[in-house]
Structure formats: C-alpha cells, structure tokens
C-alpha cells in the first residue's frame, strides 16, 4: 500500500512537471510582446526610435523576459518552490495573493453547479429510465439534446434576460456574494446536466436488466428497494463523470463568470490574456492543472473506497 501511494505521488509530480513546461511554453508562443503592451502604443509613436528601444530593453529586464526560455523557466520554477508565483505585470501585485482571493469564488461556483448538475442528473435520469419508452422519457431526451446543442453563453444570456431583466428575480449589479451565486451556478449546472441525465439513464437501464435485479425481485423485494440496489451500482459508474464535470466547470467557467461578472479565476484569466500578463496566466494555468490532478486523484480514491471489488482483494480460495 505504501509503495503504491509513493508511486501515485511520483506520477502526480511528473504530470504537474510536464504540464508546467507545456503551459510555460504555450504562453510564450502566443504572438504579442507584453513589454510593448505595457509601455503602450502612445509611447511608441511619441518617442524616437532609440529612446523607445532603450526603454523597451529596460522594461524587458525588469519583467524578467531577457534570458532564454530555459533560464526564464528555471527562475520561475525556482520561485515556485518557494510558493511564489511571481508578480503580475499589470497590477504589480503578487499573483499568488490575487489567485488566492479569487479561488474560493470559483470553487464555490463550480461546487454549487456540480450539486445542481448531479441533483438534476440523478433525479431526471432515474425518472427517465424508470419510464423508458413513455412520453416523459421522450421529452426528457429531447430536452437533453436541445440543452446540449445550445452554446453555454447563449443559455447564460437567455437566463439573464429572463430572470434578471424581465422578472427581476436576480440583481446582476449587486455585490458579488451568496445571493448572486445561484444564477451562474444554475447555468453551469444546466450545461452539464444533459450528459449526466443520459449517463444515469443508460446505466440504470442496463443495471435494471441485470440478473441480480431479477433475483432481488424474485425474493419479494419491492420495486423501490430494488431500484435502490441498482442505483448503488449506477452511482459507482457515475463518479468518473462527476469528476470530469467538476474539472470542466473549474477550467471552463471563464465565459459564464464573465457573463455574470462573477469575480472568479475565469475573469482573472481573461484579463491575463488581454494584457499578456505572463505570471498571471502561468499562475492560473498551474492552479487549474493542480485542481484537475487533485480531482482525478480524489475520484480514484473514491472508487477504491466505494467499490468492494477494488477495496477487498480476493481473500478466499475458490473452494472451501
């Protein structure tokens, strides 16, 4: 067990290391010069060529963009080990502190959205499976296709239009807080729901066809109990999807966060891209990588914990 744990830890470390190199390189491969952006177009026009070039050089040195990529990476990775994500080009504040301020908001949004998604998915998926082939089932499936084929920002804007502008149930301009959470969470939850509904429906249908279900019925167990038995197996196979959805919400909340002006990481990343703010982008990407890896590890651990077939190794010989 100890060996396996160590192995997992090393694998995780390798993944994070590899991801950090890729994200570092990708950010620098994108066109545009952050130093130029920061000095601004006005200066470029106003100053003569030599003064401008000198100013640019000084700016680059100050921003740490002069050496090779390799040396830049080394110095970034070195400060990473000291838990230092660098200083934002744009705001001149510590990236770690800025991300720290925004991370809870994103996690809160993603977590609430996940709860909504899982709730809708289990409930509707179960109903749909238990009434497979009926009108209800058909409507649910139709709804899923519809919801899955409309882009997220359209749904977000429509909800905003309906609930905030027309019905005035939602105050978009107010202070970002718990009262502002439900609509973006609902939007994100709705976006993930169709997939969840379909997986739960399909899995439950296949579980209900299993012999153990017939066997339980033959022993006189009521329908509700038997569906309960089947759902335990369905949940097990749904965990992976839940993990995937959570990573999707965390890394993909950029659009929804900006529509609802939710002060999370998504908005931060968007600003980072606009300003070519290398340290901010690197920090954002690294945090995303870490949370994705963390979620995957948690899913794996949950499996081991919940599935007796993995937890308990075969102890008995085949025959007594």
């Amino acid at each position: 067990m100890g060996r396996r744990l160590l192995l997992t830890f090393l694998q995780t470390l390798m993944t994070v290391f590899a991801a950090s190199i890729v994200l570092f390189a990708l950010i620098r491969l994108a066109p545009g010069d952050p130093a130029k952006l920061l000095i601004g177009r006005t200066m470029e026009i106003a100053l003569d060529e030599r003064t401008y070039a000198k100013m640019l050089g000084e700016m680059r040195t100050e921003m740490g963009l002069t050496g090779s990529w390799f040396s830049q990476y080394l110095s970034w990775a070195g400060s990473l080990l000291r838990m230092d994500l660098g200083t934002s080009f744009y705001t001149q504040r510590a990236v770690a502190a800025e991300i720290g301020e925004r991370l809870p908001a994103t996690f809160l949004l993603a977590g609430t959205a996940l709860l909504i998604q899982v709730g809708i998915g289990l409930l509707i998926g179960m109903l749909s499976a238990l009434h497979a082939g009926t009108l209800l089932d058909t409507l649910v499936r139709l709804g899923c296709v519809l919801l899955a084929s409309v882009p997220g920002f359209v749904i977000g804007l429509l909800l905003l239009l309906a609930l905030a502008v027309k019905l005035e149930l939602y105050a978009i301009g107010s202070e970002a807080g718990l009262s502002r959470l439900w609509l973006p969470a609902l939007t994100l939850g709705l976006l993930g729901a169709p997939q969840m509904i379909r997986v739960v429906r399909a899995n439950l249908l296949s579980e209900l066809g299993q012999v153990y279900v017939q066997s339980a019925l033959s022993r006189g167990l009521g329908t509700r109990r038997v569906v309960g038995h089947a759902m335990r197996n369905v949940l097990l196979s749904t965990i992976t999807l839940i993990g995937l959805s959570l990573t999707a919400s965390i890394s993909g909340a950029v659009v929804i966060e900006s529509i609802f002006a939710w002060p999370g990481l998504g908005e931060y990343a968007l600003n980072g891209i606009l300003h070519k703010d290398y340290p901010a982008l690197q920090g954002y990407a690294l945090v995303t990588v870490l949370s994705v890896v963390g979620i995957h590890l948690t899913v794996e651990a949950l499996y081991v914990w919940l599935d007796p077939r993995i937890t308990r190794r075969k102890k008995e010989a085949a025959h007594e």
Binding site: Q210, V211, Y212, Q214, S215, A216, L217, S218, R219, G220, L221, G222, R225, H229, R232, N233, L236, L306, D307, P308, R309, R312, K314, K315, E316, A318, H319, E320
Partner: protein
C-alpha cells in the same frame, strides 16, 4: 418416489405466453398445464429456445415487457387462484415466500456492491421477518445448513470474493430463509464445474426433502433430471409433449422429441476411429516449464509441459480456476508467460511480439467459450469469416467471399443464415461461425477453450461431431480445453489432467478411467456420479447415429 397421495402444491392451467418482436407476435408457450405436489422434484426438460425459462419467469412474474401472458391461472396451496393474464401486483404476495427462484449464474444474481449480510438483511426486512437489529443470526443459521464452515465470514464477504459454487449456495440460503413452498431452479448448476455441481445438487436434494419443498428443476441435462427428479416434463416448441414418472419417460419415451433428446446425450466414442499418423520428431507445439502468475503472489501456471503432434487431439481437463484458460492465452500470447518456453515447430515463440506474433495467428487459432461474445454483433456471418482473411490480405475480394461461403457451408451455416448477424443466430450457430472463422486461415493448431460448455447437450454433440469431421478433412491439431470429462473422453487421443497450474497426469483418452492421481479420480467421480445414479433407472440407448447437421 411415491407421490400419488401427496397434497397438490401448485397448479398451472392453460398458460399461454406470446412475445412481440418488431411487429410480429409469436406464441412461446401454448396451453401449458401441470401440477406440482408437496415435496417433489419436477424436472422440466427441453433445449434452449423451447420456452423453459419463459415458464419460470411467467410463474414468478419476471417476464420482459415484450412478453404478454394471454391466459393462464396459478393456484398455490392456501392462496386464492391468480389469473396470470391480469396485470397488477399479484406477485408481491407470492414472490419469495410462495415461490422462490434460483438463477443459472449465481455470481450475477448477487449485487456486486452489497455484502452477503446486506443481502440477507434486505431480503428478511422486505418480508418483515427479521428483528431490525440482527438479521445476521438467521442468515448465519441458513448458511451453516448449506454447508458453510464459517458463516460469519461469508456474511462479511462480497459476491466477488466467493466462488461460483459458493455463490449458488448463498443464493439457495437466501431463497430458503423465506421458507417458500415452491422453488424454481433454472439451470442452477450449468455454470459450475463438476465438483461444485455435485455439492450444490446434494444440498438442494437433502434440504428439499427436509423442508418438504417442491422444486421445479429446469434443465437441459438429462442425466441431472434422471438423477434428481421424481417426475419429468418434456417441453418442445412451447408445448409439453410428454410428462410422467422419470424412470418411465426416459426408459420408454413415447414422443419422438424425447427420443431425440435421449439420443443426443450419448456422445459415444466418436474419436476411436481417428488414428494418429505422421508423427514426427519435432512436435507441432511444445510447452516447457511454462509459468504465469498474473503479477500476483499465486502462480496460475506452475510449470506446464506438453507436446502436441501433427493431427493430434489433446484434451486438457481441469476444474475452473486450475489455469486452463490462462494456458490457452499464454500459448497464443494474450497473456505473457513469466518463465518457460512455447515452441511452435521447434521455434521459440514465447516472446514474440507485434508483427511476428500477428503472423502466428495464421498457424494457431483460438475458439472461445462464449461464442456470441467473441463475434462482433454488427457483422454478418459472411463478413466475420472474411475479416480474418482480409486481415492477412489473402486472396482477392471474390476469393475471400467464396472461401467464407465454402467454410460456412462446411460448418453447417446455410445460405440464408450467412447474412444474419450474431444476435439473430442461436448460440450453437455462433459457435459454428467462430469455428469457421478460426479455420479460414488454415491453422495448424486449433485451441478450443471450453468451446462447447455453454451449449445444450444435443448442440454440443453436433459441434463435437463437426470438429471431428473438420479435423479429418483439414488435418489440424486440436488442444481441447474443458472441465467436462464426457466431452474429452470421447474426443481426444490424449488427456492431460490439470490441477493448480500443472499437469498431474496424462493418459490416452480411452484409458482416462484408469487414471491414478487423486485429482483425476475426484473429477471422474463427480462426473460419473450423476450418470451412475441414473443408469439403473433406465436402459440406455447406445450408439445412436448422429445426424451430421
């Protein structure tokens, strides 16, 4: 065996069931009526597709939605008569306490994420039989009656930690703890090897007598029915064609179909006629000290040695879990061997990988137990056979088609069936296609891993005969892996008995009975017991000719 004065326990009158498939409605059961008495075992015999399982499911209300009960009544002792054609919850009263059921594959009949204790708890609670705090004492009591030495440990276990035989005994305990009046046992032992089979059947029989239980035993195995049951019913195409005292029906079958079934059971020594010729010094396949452990502590293969010559048929006999299938997988490289060598015509192929391994597929082919699962359900029979030719770029498109047609004809898949896909074909037909596919590349060795175990007796006989004919015709060697002594005894030149990952004995097929090793004797005893018990009861028809279909 006298049952005339016994009380009637269950009465079925005029049961008719139809299935709807696409827009066609066809009748599966037609006018089924029978009575079961207290404390009797009634066998329901018939091939797959005859409607045996439909009767079981109709009696316990588990028919699929595509089925409809057109008419029929069910009268259970002490209960008002139920009109089966009426929808509704008539079953809630009967299921479990009135009528219980035992399924074919017990491993699948238990929920994989629930402990055995949870199974008992749920079952007892559903019938308000257990005091809330402790269902385990009741469970433990029944498990002990079913021969478990340590019931407490079994209660803590999960289904995957138990063997198939143990699971079936647990299922029996679960069914009996509700004290049902009638137990329907649907092929309760066909998924088990012979040793476990005997164990489960012994328990079923003794507990049935003890509890005065009526058992409806559904089986395709005549020997089983003969050994256990007081009366038999023969089912053919949804009708009961014959019923009566077991000994009478099997000794003097009145109906033609019954005679057919009886004929199929005697797989008389088909292989005696085949002579081994052209034996060379270099064996076709040679295994030396083969070891495999699947990365775990326990060795699955523990030093296997074997020589297979040209045109030879060697049987590998062993219980489930002894490593038979792993051996097959090692030979073709599906599982890598840890140590030892596999030689094909003297060449060491143990570590062949990639392209070299792929080329070997032309020489060694494998036929699996579950024919249906081994065929792509979306391809027709013709496409399936052509695919393996296509994979090795053999012949032109037309030649491939012709060869596939020829082979399918050879294995008895006629023109009309050649365009069907596996879901539309019977299991026996699927296995024929699998054999045709394996032979398409003209292999020198055919490995059959329990290739007939999942088939009905009569189909089994047909497939074995087919293999034999093809063997004569094409002259390949066969490695026949099975747990069934009857299959191997009649079919193989040599039989190697496998136990705990090694061969304990190797004998000519005809002299298997003179095996000396303890394990050989154990296998022979458990296989022979059913036949031996049955033999005095009826004169056997021997040496029936087989239709070469």
């Amino acid at each position: 065996m006298e049952i005339a004065d016994k009380r009637e326990r269950l009465q079925i009158e005029n049961l008719e069931v139809t299935y709807r498939q696409n827009d066609n409605v066809h009748t599966v059961l037609d006018g089924i009526s029978f009575t079961m008495y207290e404390g009797e075992i009634l066998s329901l015999l018939g091939e797959s597709g005859s409607g045996k399982s439909t009767i079981a499911k109709a009696l316990i209300g588990l028919l699929p939605p595509s089925a409809a009960i057109k008419s029929g009544t069910l009268g259970l002792d002490g209960e008002p008569v139920i009109f089966l054609s009426q929808p509704g919850g008539a079953w809630n009263r009967l299921r479990g306490r009135g009528i219980a059921m035992l399924f074919q594959d017990a491993r699948l009949a238990l929920n994989p994420v629930m402990s055995i204790h949870a199974h008992f708890r749920e079952t007892l609670r559903a019938h308000r039989l257990a005091p809330k705090q402790d269902p385990s004492s009741i469970g433990a009591g029944w498990l002990a009656r079913l021969g478990f030495a340590d019931p407490a440990r079994i209660l803590r276990s999960y289904p995957h930690e138990l063997s198939g035989g143990m699971c079936q005994r647990v299922c029996l305990a679960l069914a009996l703890c509700l004290r049902p009046q009638v137990l329907i046992a649907d092929e309760p032992t066909s998924a088990l090897d012979t040793v476990n089979q005997g164990e489960v059947l012994d328990l079923l029989q003794s507990l049935q007598q003890e509890l005065g239980l009526s058992v409806l035993l559904i089986t395709h195995d005549l020997n089983l029915a003969e050994a256990l049951s007081h009366r038999v019913m023969i089912l053919d195409k949804g009708r009961i064609v014959e019923k009566g005292e077991t000994a009478r029906v099997l000794a003097q079958p009145k109906h033609g179909y019954t005679r057919q079934l009886l004929a199929a059971r005697n797989l008389t020594s088909l292989s005696e006629a085949v002579s081994v010729s052209g034996r060379r010094d270099v064996p076709l396949l040679e295994l030396q000290d083969l070891k495999q452990s699947h990365g775990s502590q326990r060795r699955i293969l523990n030093g296997v040695n074997l020589r297979l010559h040209d045109r030879e048929i060697i049987g590998i006999l062993g219980q489930s879990g002894c490593g038979k299938s792993t051996l097959a997988r090692c030979i073709v490289g599906l599982d890598p061997a840890d140590a030892g060598t596999v030689r094909f015509r003297g060449r060491d192929i143990t570590r062949f990988k990639g392209r070299a391994r792929r080329k070997l597929a032309r020489h060694i082919q494998l036929v699996f137990q579950d024919a249906r699962a081994s065929l792509n359900p979306r391809r027709s029979a013709l496409e399936l056979v052509q695919a393996s030719l296509h994979a090795f770029r053999i012949g032109s498109r037309r030649e491939r088609l012709e060869r596939a047609r020829f082979l399918l004809n050879e294995v008895g898949i006629k023109e009309a069936a050649q365009h069907r896909r596996p879901p539309q074909l019977s299991t026996g037909q699927c296995q024929r296609i699998a054999i045709a596919r394996a032979l398409a590349l003209r292999p020198e060795i055919l490995i059959c891993d329990e290739a007939v175990s999942a088939l009905d007796m009569s189909v089994q006989a047909q497939i074995l005969e087919l293999l034999q004919r093809l063997h004569r015709q094409f002259g390949f060697s066969i490695l026949m892996i099975s747990h069934d002594v009857r299959v191997l005894r009649t079919f193989c030149h040599q039989i190697a008995v496998m136990h705990e990952g090694r061969f304990v004995e190797q004998l000519p097929g005809s002299r298997l009975a003179s095996g000396e090793h303890d394990h050989t004797r154990l296998l022979l005893r458990s296989a022979d017991r059913l036949e031996a018990e049955a033999r005095p009861a009826s004169a056997r028809e021997t040496n029936m000719t087989h239709s070469s279909h």
